[in-house]
């Protein structure tokens, strides 16, 4: 486990060991997962290692391929926008969504957003901003600059599923001619189908299962505590809408170029 952490250097971070283990032990032997030829590729930007890992997992669980970087500069570098000449790599780079933290040292998510919207190659890519602070002026500024959505941290699975479903809608509308595919990656991430359990136990429940009966552990604990007062972050300028959801739904995901 320690090895995995040391490899994380702010370039691409990942927790690949479990997935690689599954594949090497013959995890692919069971029924093949439906192939997602038009795999969604997301660029995630966050200076916090913990948050990077969580957002990456959230995105992978929703069948996205993820590149996670630790700063706006690395994001621009990845996109080939860090210098003025167009990179030859650009023809092969397909980014369907950029999701970035707002508060980052050096370049904020807002500044990154502006740079992306200024570029000819990537201005149509939807950019989503994440922030732990629910500040109206900040949200407005980002939306005015062209952000597609604004998510309150900590980001939830429901938030990412919603983003994903918007992207799916967009995919259906676009003709495949518009999409530039990445070459087949041997380590491209897909959700591996569940492999046969290696232990002899009749149930292969994941660690920290809190219900003895089902592997859907979270629902039982949520039921147990739905009545307990779980306060949410209360900052100034809190919107009256439920803080659990993304506060802003002013803009829907647009299909670039077709409206």
């Amino acid at each position: 486990m320690g090895k995995e952490k040391k490899q994380i250097d702010g370039g691409v971070s990942c927790l690949r060991r479990a997935e690689m283990n599954m594949m090497s032990v013959g995890g692919m032997e069971s029924a093949p997962a439906p192939l997602d030829l038009e795999e969604v590729h997301v660029l995630a930007v966050d200076d916090s290692l913990v948050d990077r890992i969580v957002i990456e997992r959230l995105l992978r669980i929703t069948s996205c391929k993820v590149t996670a970087v630790d700063s706006g500069w690395r994001a621009l570098e990845f996109l080939g926008l860090d210098n003025d000449k167009a990179s030859a790599q650009l023809d092969r780079l397909k980014v369907d969504l950029i999701i970035t933290d707002y508060c980052m040292p050096g370049m904020t998510g807002y500044e990154l957003l502006k740079k992306i919207k200024e570029s000819s190659n990537f201005r149509e890519v939807p950019v989503v901003i994440m922030s732990s602070e629910n500040v109206m002026t900040r949200i407005d500024r980002c939306l005015e600059e062209g952000a597609q959505d604004f998510l309150l941290k900590p980001v939830k699975l429901a938030d990412v599923k919603r983003l994903r479903s918007h992207l799916a809608t967009k995919d259906v509308k676009l003709s495949t001619g518009n999409k530039r595919k990445l070459p087949e990656d041997s380590d491209s991430v897909t959700i591996t189908p569940p492999s046969p359990s290696l232990t002899i136990s009749p149930e292969s429940s994941p660690p920290l299962t809190i219900s003895p009966h089902s592997s859907d552990s979270s629902s039982s604990l949520v039921e147990m505590f739905s009545s307990s007062p779980i306060d949410d972050d209360e900052d100034e300028d809190v919107l009256t809408s439920s803080p659990e959801e993304s506060p802003i739904r002013r803009q829907k995901m647009r299909s670039p170029g077709l409206d």
Binding site: E19, D51, I53, T192, T199, P207, L208, T209, L221
Partner: protein, 154 residues
């Protein structure tokens, strides 16, 4: 007979989690982490929490070094460290640690040195409490897996 061990351990785990939620040590975002764990990523919660521990301890060490320095004056740096702690604690559902970090941060914004020292001590205390609880949880889970593994599906 062996099955009893699993059930008892499961009950212990449930009880511990319930207690942590009740105390406000953990909140629903911890449950969110569990939702992200499955067969393809069976140790996700364990891995993320351990990374959180590593990152947090680095930050706490830096905070202490800053504050014990007689010539300390860089409250802004304290604030930056605390932003990180607040963020990551919030992401894993460590509600109490997050809250005491916010209080500490307020003291730093007022350049209140004794307030910062107190804030640091409280954060360190809450952090270590959380860490001990998580270790206990992980141990119980380990035992539960072992106990479950002994059962043969005949």
């Amino acid at each position: 007979m062996l099955g009893l061990g699993v059930d008892r351990l499961q009950a212990d785990i449930n009880r511990l989690l319930a207690s942590l939620f009740h105390q406000g040590v953990l909140d629903e975002h911890f449950l969110q982490l569990q939702q992200l764990q499955d067969e393809t990523s069976p140790n996700f919660v364990y891995d993320v929490i351990n990374i959180y521990f590593d990152e947090s301890e680095k930050l706490l060490r830096n905070l202490r070094l800053l504050l014990v320095d007689r010539e300390f004056s860089d409250y802004k740096k304290i604030g930056l460290h605390l932003n990180q702690l607040v963020g990551s604690s919030s992401s894993i559902g460590a509600r109490r640690v997050r809250n005491v970090c916010v209080a500490f941060r307020s003291a730093s914004e007022l350049s209140n040195r004794p307030g910062c020292m107190r804030g640091l001590e409280v954060v360190e205390h809450e952090y270590h409490y959380l860490k001990n609880m998580m270790h206990e949880l992980f141990q119980l889970e380990q035992q539960r897996l072992l106990a479950a593994g002994v059962r043969y599906p005949v």
